[in-house]
Symmetry: C2
Subunit: 207 residues, 2 copies
DNA sequence: TTGAAATATGAGCAATTACTCGTATTATAA
DNA sequence: TTATAATACGAGTAATTGCTCATATTTCAA
């Protein structure tokens, strides 16, 4: 996603510094997840990672660069964890299940992601993720329903992502439902919408 | 929602100070909407409202109290703007339309609300809103489908709110869809899910 | 008219913010 | 072994944060 330096700063060249950068990122992810991006300071991150503030700024030109690096990582991880599996899905129902469960797993193991993804004021960063994921869903819809016009695919993808986003906001809230129930309901909601979409466009839903 | 003092601070008693408090709240709402809660300082609010920082702290014991007061106001406004209309809705389809359009209107005229509602890290405040709104939707479902078990109503309400929340996150994003299209799609999504829910529970959807 | 309560003011405080820079410690290639 | 580049360090900077408090002004009942 970015091979040139993320920053004007030095890129880590020796093994120890590469490990350090990884470690800083991991620590930052944890803190962001717990307290949110704005509430976490760079000094805070450095202290928690047992790294001097100077070392942190050796590799990250500013606070936002840390978040950017995290987002790069997340988009890559998501691509691996989700997209491969979605393309292999034999049916739309299967694809929907993989999306919902994949997102759930991903949100669980990368809690900071949920913040970044849902936080409204980090518009630039959020946009990158949003656009990327909409593209994936759009492609999936187009593949399963070639008769669907491109604009319809796009609209469907935007709305589907709405649903998935709302879903992620609610996963760690005490809803009275188990994760499995929530997951099942969200799959049902997504499928119900998609089936409705294609039906409205005069296509008989497959399977 | 709270008649006793919001704070340990003086309650405004004279007309001029009541106006001032209103004005501070309005200004804060605007700033929160533009920049998010964390990014806006109390000094900032005071300056923008043309009020000294001391006056601000005369009526609000701390920054959070400003947000709390806003949420009180929003929940009241929402109750008036939405709930009355929902209870009068002749059909579920109509109720869904009123919810989606009401939320949209509300998000438009109270932009700060969107932030507060969706922001993950303001857990306490967000919870109040979430719980309140889930209750409303739950009641609506129970009324339109008396055969639906209370847990089913609750589950349905939680998932429906997920969808509405995701919706609010996306309204002012360049999606390539007009507001009307988005609104229509979201109504369709909500209805598709609810119809699916009652169908799965062996009830033939009305109308 | 008077005086006490309500309201208004903003300089200023301690704490924290994102970030710099001079210096010290490593690693590596010659 | 040595010299140069890479890495590490953390005291220190200016700016900003949420918030206080002594003082000044306004309101209104008596």
């Amino acid at each position: 996603m970015s091979d040139q330096p993320t920053s004007k700063r030095r890129r880590p060249q020796q093994a120890r510094s590469q490990q350090r950068v990884e470690h800083i990122l991991g620590t930052a992810a944890g803190l962001f997840a717990e307290q949110g991006y704005e509430a976490v300071s760079t000094n805070h991150i450095a202290r928690a990672a047992c790294v001097s503030i100077g070392s942190l700024y050796q590799f990250f030109p500013n606070k936002e660069a840390i978040l950017d690096a995290l987002v790069d990582k997340y988009l890559n991880d998501m691509q691996e964890a989700l997209i491969g599996r979605i393309e292999e899905a034999p049916s739309l129902e299967d694809a929907v299940q993989r999306i919902v469960q994949g997102m759930q797993r991903f949100g669980k193991s990368h809690k900071a992601f949920k913040h970044v993804f849902a936080e409204v004021q980090l518009a630039a960063v959020t946009d990158r993720i949003h656009t990327t994921v909409v593209g994936w869903i759009e492609a999936m819809l187009g593949e399963h329903y070639p008769q669907l016009a491109p604009e319809q695919c796009h609209a469907g993808a935007e709305v589907s992502l709405c649903i998935v986003k709302g879903m992620m906001l609610v996963y760690d809230r005490p809803t009275g439902l188990t994760r499995e129930q929530l997951s099942a309901e969200m799959q049902a909601a997504l499928l119900a919408y998609i089936h409705d979409l294609v039906r409205r466009n005069g296509i008989t839903p497959g399977a």
